[in-house]
């Protein structure tokens, strides 16, 4: 019945691995989902080759958004920012291992949106960043 709330999601929500602020950082970006009041910040460290050497998120939100942020941080460490720019909605759904309706999709994609706005160096995050 609770197919959306797979163990990994609940676990990552209760006990996230990458919930931390990085200071110093090379890239930092923050956004929110006003619909549910969720708020998310991501900090990244990037070396001279463009590789992400560390990543952390902070803020508050639902299990889907927090777990997705935690899993995303894990997956981008070691990736080049050019690779990260190419990440899509589907990558997040694969990390979570679930399917989502449109409202919850926004929760799941918030972290990717924030990361992409950060690596692209944008002034504002846009939903277009995570539309396939």
């Amino acid at each position: 019945m609770d197919d959306l709330y797979r163990e990994i999601i609940i676990e990552r929500y209760k006990d996230p691995q990458f919930k931390k602020e990085l200071d110093p950082h090379d890239i930092s970006f923050e956004d929110e989902n006003p619909l549910c009041g969720d708020q998310l910040r991501v900090d990244l460290r990037v070396d001279e080759t463009g590789m992400i050497t560390d990543a952390g998120f902070s803020g508050h939100g639902c299990a889907i958004s927090q777990a997705s942020a935690d899993l995303l941080m894990e997956s981008i460490i070691g990736k080049n920012i050019e690779e990260v720019k190419k990440m899509t909605k589907q990558d997040i759904l694969d990390l979570l291992g679930i399917e989502l309706g449109p409202v919850r999709l926004k929760c799941a994609l918030l972290s990717l949106k924030v990361v992409k706005a950060g690596v692209y160096g944008l002034g504002e995050a846009s939903d277009a960043l995570v539309e396939d």
């Binding site: 609770d2 009041g37 639902c62 919850r104």
Partner: protein, 406 residues
């Protein structure tokens, strides 16, 4: 017993959310379900008398006009209005309030005038005044909400010393369930020389409301929250006020005469109804009002009181859950919950997997959530078709959420 018989009137409640998982619909504060008689009234309209109204002499047009205007008369009686001229059809509560802000507000408010609202308003009764305030330099003041979700009437009396032009407030909060003392608020406003607007989106659907008893100057509500269709709402206004107001939107039906560079407006209520109206929807709304009148609004209220009382008793078993709003008795059928361990969206989603439809978020009342220092809440809301068994299912669902997140 009674409850069971209302339930059977609503076709959608026979639905399974997923095969084998019956629908438990606890989101009526967002929109209510529709009884068979309402669905059929609109279906019949389109199958047998659809025509544009007011200007036609052919049989269909006359039948449609008669059906449309007789629905207006029913709705007028339902809220105890003085005449059908006081019942303006709009899209919804939101448009009704915007109509007052645009037409009355732009004509009668000026630089420095004060409008009193409350901290528990729905965005529909905030944003129109904010737009007006930024254009005309109106001052907005807010009646505070106490920790137990009641309006602070002492503070209100102080605010009245500012000699406001308008007091616009919700009759019942869609988040707290608080039923505000509308009559008292209005009497005090009138003594201070202010007009009043009642956001009745959550009151007219749930208990008897008489604009005459309230002495409300304006009152707004939506059909979709009271067994009626989407796309139709009402602005009630006292005739002398509506008469003094300029038209809002321009076009067909709202005019008496038009020349290339000038027009003269039609009489009430048509003056405020521009273009082809929501004909099928008004007829459906009429059927909804017939349906509710047939049951009696006291009976609707009694069912909901029973349900909310029972739900508030039951939910106390969960120390992880805190409630927004006053205790049962002084409130309508709305249960807004906050859980430290689980986010409202997760709660709602897990309940959905149990077939239970509740709402999560700010319920279009962000400032109220800010007031209670929570970003969002999970809201279960009841209507005449709900049952104590459904409350039990809600509690089982909540228990499951708590287990999952503990």
């Amino acid at each position: 017993m009674k409850v069971k018989s209302y339930r059977a009137d609503f076709p959608i409640l026979m639905r399974d959310v997923k095969p084998g998982l019956p629908l438990v619909y606890l989101d009526s504060a967002a929109t209510s379900q529709k009884p068979e008689v309402v669905i059929t009234a609109m279906d019949n309209y389109y199958r047998s008398m659809n025509a544009n109204i007011h200007r036609g002499v052919h049989t269909l047009a006359e039948e449609a006009t008669a059906a449309y205007e007789s629905a207006r008369a029913k709705i007028s009686r339902f809220i105890d209005a003085g005449s059908t001229r006081e019942v303006i059809f709009t899209r919804n509560t939101t448009e009704s309030i915007n109509l007052v802000a645009y037409s009355w507000g732009r004509k009668f408010l000026k630089d420095g005038d004060v409008v009193i609202l409350t901290e528990m308003e729905h965005h529909a009764n905030l944003v129109p005044w904010q737009i007006l305030a930024s254009e005309k330099n109106i001052k907005l003041e807010f009646i505070p909400v106490s920790d137990d979700g009641l309006l602070d009437l002492a503070a209100y009396k102080d605010l009245l010393k500012l000699e406001p032009k308008l007091v616009s407030f919700t009759h019942m909060s869609n988040v707290l369930g608080t039923i505000n003392p509308a009559k008292e608020i209005i009497d005090l406003a009138h003594l201070a020389g202010a007009l009043t607007l009642v956001d009745a989106a959550q009151s007219v659907p749930h208990f008897p409301v008489s604009v005459k008893d309230l002495d409300a100057d304006f009152l707004a509500f939506s059909a979709h929250k009271m067994c009626g269709p989407t796309a139709i709402g009402v602005l009630y206004g006292k005739e002398n006020l509506l008469t003094a107001m300029p038209p809002f939107m321009g076009g067909g039906d709202m005019i008496r005469k038009v020349a290339l560079r000038s027009f003269s407006p039609n009489e009430l209520p048509y003056k405020f109804e521009a273009g082809t109206p929501a004909i099928a929807e008004v007829i459906g709304f009429g059927a909804a009002v017939d349906y509710l009148s047939g049951i009696g609004m006291e009976n609707v209220q009694a069912v909901e009181e029973e349900l909310i009382t029972y739900a508030m008793e039951q939910v106390r078993q969960f120390p992880q859950i805190s409630l927004l709003g006053p205790d049962a008795g002084s409130k309508g059928g709305v249960l807004s919950m906050v859980m430290d361990i689980a986010h409202p969206h997760d709660v709602a989603q897990i309940l959905d997997q149990h077939g239970i439809a509740v709402r999560a978020g700010h319920h279009c009342a962000m400032p109220l959530h800010t007031r209670f220092q929570v970003p969002a809440s999970t809201r279960a809301s009841f209507y005449l078709y709900n049952t104590p068994e459904e409350v039990d299912k809600l509690m089982a669902g909540l228990a499951h959420v708590i287990k999952l997140f503990s």
